[in-house]
Amino acid sequence: MLQILTVCGAGVGSSILLKVYTEQILQAEGIHAEVQSVDIGSMGTTNVDIIITTPDLSKLIRNTDAKLIELVNLTDKTTLQNKLLEVIKEIREGE
């Protein structure tokens, strides 16, 4: 199953919002994935397929081969949907 992380500074507010949106998008598309919200300070990056976060935080993420999705505007669900589906397509084609 796809493993997706949504990341923000404290892992309590924005990342949970991103998780809600991501799950809504995936559900509408019928894609199964596990979505977790975490904070940038204590996140682990092993066995993760996709990381969704903001440009300023994505600079701080190291040692991962997960695909990064950067969103400047976290409430912009359309952009999130486009980027997410594109990345999932890439991953599936790569397999």
């Binding site: 892992g11 309590v12 924005s14 919002l17 799950e23 940038i40 204590s42 300023d56 400047v72």
Partner: protein, 419 residues
């Protein structure tokens, strides 16, 4: 089996609330079991985090009293303090949290204030504050505390989101949401102040800060580092000998200061992990209810949504608020104010940023700096006024009291004491 005893155990009660939330979302049995257990474990982690934080921060009080030449008091044992703390208000707080959200939804449905506050971590701790204020300040029964508290929380959630809404148009970017955050008062005040004194053409964001300051966005390591530095300063001022004799149980002062700072880091890690486990399962239910019951409402989201567009304001705001809070702490010490307070770093970081973002939006650099500085004063003086009214919720408020707590809290506490 005594059902009432089960339900008045806050962790169990919280589990029931979350289970209802999961039922509303029509989750499978498996998801319900795992979600409910996660929420209960999360709730207990919050308690554990607060205990750790108390353990880290309490010695500051002894050392600051020494520095300001105040009478030293015997520090209560941490266990005693924390066991009494959240648990005493936990039952009413949990129900106020759940019903307060429903009051917010009803207000949005039936009044012109079409705003729904969706930052559950804010309303969770605000529910605790209201429960504590009502329990300490009145002799109302638990039932009365719950319905009065729910009304208070619902009104707060609705109006605080509504108050910030008119200022969102000054912020660049998406305008489909407002903020649901416990910095609402400073967002408004800072926005007004910026209009009065500043010039929004002198945009703070045009200044780019060195990239190496970017590490400050990693909240936990950044705040831990600052807390270690703060401990080193305080132990130095209190005197190495005093610290090693009276506070650290003969541990080297510098090692002690570093360890206490790190312990603070452990505490906030446990706390935020707990909050996350507790609320990730609830928040989708809140979203679902909001969309179903009040489809034309504006959601109130969490403050850090604004951070990506405002990297400079976040850092400048934090530092201005921190400096102001430290100054406030020293002033309170010099005038020998009986409650010893020290800057609450988590609120200083997040709400300092809020103040700078809104100050900058209407008044540029000057608006940002003045707003964030004022925020620091509201945080520290407000905390000093608030603590006597909240009883055992004190530990939580020493760590998490944001401007809406330190501004409205003392006013409500004072009013309750007038009756």
């Amino acid at each position: 089996m005594n059902l009432w005893q089960f339900l008045s155990e806050p962790a169990i009660l919280m589990g029931c609330v979350v289970m209802i939330g999961l039922l509303v979302q029509r989750k499978t049995i498996n998801q319900m079991i795992s979600g409910t257990i996660k929420a209960v474990v999360g709730f207990l982690l919050v308690l554990a985090g607060v205990e750790f934080l108390a353990d880290s921060l309490l010695p500051l009080e002894t050392m600051l009293r020494k520095i300001f030449g105040m009478q030293t008091i015997t520090v209560h044992s941490v266990d005693q303090l924390v066991n009494a703390s959240l648990l005493a208000y936990g039952t009413s707080a949990t129900l106020i949290f759940a019903f307060g959200f429903l009051v917010n939804v009803l207000l949005a449905r039936f009044t012109p204030f079409k705003y729904i506050h969706l930052s559950a971590h804010v309303s969770f701790f605000y529910a605790g504050l209201i429960a504590a204020l009502l329990t300490v300040g009145t002799d109302l029964s638990t039932t009365h505390i719950i319905w009065i508290g729910s009304l208070m929380l619902g009104i707060y959630l609705t109006l605080s989101s509504a108050m910030v809404a008119p200022f969102m148009k000054y912020i660049p970017g998406d305008h489909s949401f407002t903020l649901g955050h416990s910095s609402s008062i400073i967002c408004v005040v800072s926005g007004l102040l910026g209009k009065l004194v500043g010039n929004k053409e002198k945009d703070l964001e045009k200044i780019e800060l060195p990239a190496r300051l970017g590490f400050l966005r990693e909240t936990i390591p950044a705040l831990t580092l600052i807390m270690m530095l703060f401990f080193i300063m305080v132990t130095l001022f209190a005197g190495k000998d005093f610290v090693e004799l009276q506070v650290s149980a003969h541990k080297d002062w510098l090692l002690y200061a570093l360890l206490q700072g790190l312990k603070f880091g452990v505490g906030i890690t446990i706390l935020t992990t707990g909050v996350r486990m507790l609320l990730t399962e609830v928040i989708p239910a809140f979203h679902g209810i909001a969309e179903k019951v009040v489809p034309n409402s504006t959601p109130g989201f969490d403050l850090p949504l604004l951070f990506p567009q405002h990297p400079t304001s976040v850092i400048v705001g934090f530092f201005c608020s921190l400096v102001a809070s430290v100054i406030g702490m020293i002033v309170l010490g010099i005038i020998q104010y009986p409650v010893v307070v020290f800057p609450a770093l988590i609120p200083t970081f997040f709400t300092g940023a809020a103040a700078a973002i809104f100050g900058n939006a209407t008044g540029g650099r000057r608006g940002a700096v003045m707003g964030a500085t004022l925020n620091g004063f509201i945080l520290i003086f407000g905390q000093a006024f608030l603590l006597p009214f909240v009883g055992n919720y004190e530990t939580v408020m020493r760590v998490l009291s944001e401007p809406d707590y330190t501004f409205y809290g003392p006013i409500i506490g004072w009013l309750l004491h007038q009756f």
